[in-house]
Amino acid sequence: MTDAADGRRNGMSSAAPMRAANEELQMPGALRWYLAHERVILGTLVVMLFLIGWEGLERGWWADMLRPLLGASAERLQLKPIFISSPTLIAAAAFRMFFVTGEIWPDLAWSGAGYVLGLGLAIAVGIPLGLAGGWYRRFSYAVEPFLSALNATPQVAFLPLIVVWVGTGLGQRVLIIFLLAVLPLAINAHAAVRTTDPRLVKVASSLGASDWRLLRTIILPSSVPFLLAGLRLAIGRGMIGVVVGEIYGSAAGIGAMINQAGARFQTDKVFVGVLTIVAAGVILVEIVQRIERRVDVWRAPA
């Protein structure tokens, strides 16, 4: 106790860890609470400031406040709603689009259909391809040039070709989502097989396990974390595919809605579309993480 009191009298100059610990016990409750939640509090505060600053720019709060100082040039601090919109305008637009006119639901359904089909196709092709590439060396040599070439290309560049091949309907969006999402899945599945513990495989095969048995009992369980990490990447890539595919040539869907709203300077609607996509992505990633925790309970903590 006296130590701590000393420490305080000397200011914070003494850096002995014992004293610092005592100091912490002596802190007033409010300060201790703040330090424990510093990350959340600071984060919330900065986000609030950001939102208020944004709202103020649109409503001209800052222009009014600084007019005495800056004179007429303060007008430049008030921006038009078509330029930046504002948090309240966006919330109002979201409410209107979801619950009053309901105009966003058909777009959501249309985009969702393309997304599910594209991602499903990517999973159905990418994971077996990666597993086979990891297991059969010769197969890997055969497909690797294609995979690494495709990986180095921004896959979106294929979009004009895809439009030439399958038109601008559902097929186009499914294909571009597939192209974007398939690579992380295949590459991660490949890496998963490669990093399987070779001792386990050797033991199992010397006890006469078949290839199928090896795959089912050793390789698949140990590759689950890789596959789910790949899936998480694929979810994000697929979202890019939805938007780009619909921006480039489509009449319906969230991406098309964003595109049309942008072309008409309805900035609030653009933000609603962007936030909807973000929400969908966050929810999907959260689901994958839940599955990850669920599937991995048998694993001994490292």
């Binding site: 921004p154 070709l161 991406g255």
Partner: protein, 164 residues
Amino acid sequence: MISPFVDTLNAVPRVTLLPLIIIWFGIGIWSKVVVVFLGAVIPILINTQSGVKTSEARFIRVARSFSASRLKIFSSIILPGTVPFIFTGLKYGAGRALLGVVVGELYASTAGLGHMIADAGNTFQTDIVFFGVLVFMATGLIVVALLDAVERRFENWRPALSRS
């Protein structure tokens, strides 16, 4: 303090911001610069951050007990330890940047390779489209190879890991 913004921006597929960026910056070169920047900055930032976070605590403690200055600790422990992370971020960011160029130019542009591809696609000149795609592919491969070379240059002080 910046992590809420970084996390949010990371969750946003940056290409969805394209219509907004066009409104803010027009369809000239600057809208592409902003799209490429937004695409590339996040992976670089996140990787560098985790690189600094995982720097060896024991080294820092030793350096501090030999009364190394903060600058010295940063330049001789944290920075060298972060190099692999920075390059992972850079490689990832390079891919994202290329994607940004293509999408930005497909969406609204008057010039550029992406514009050329879109134009050729619209007029069914499939050979030109393929050529454009190949140029992008080559660019991607060259950028990654260059980054690998620079990384090797900065990493050759590190003792080679013995293969287990």
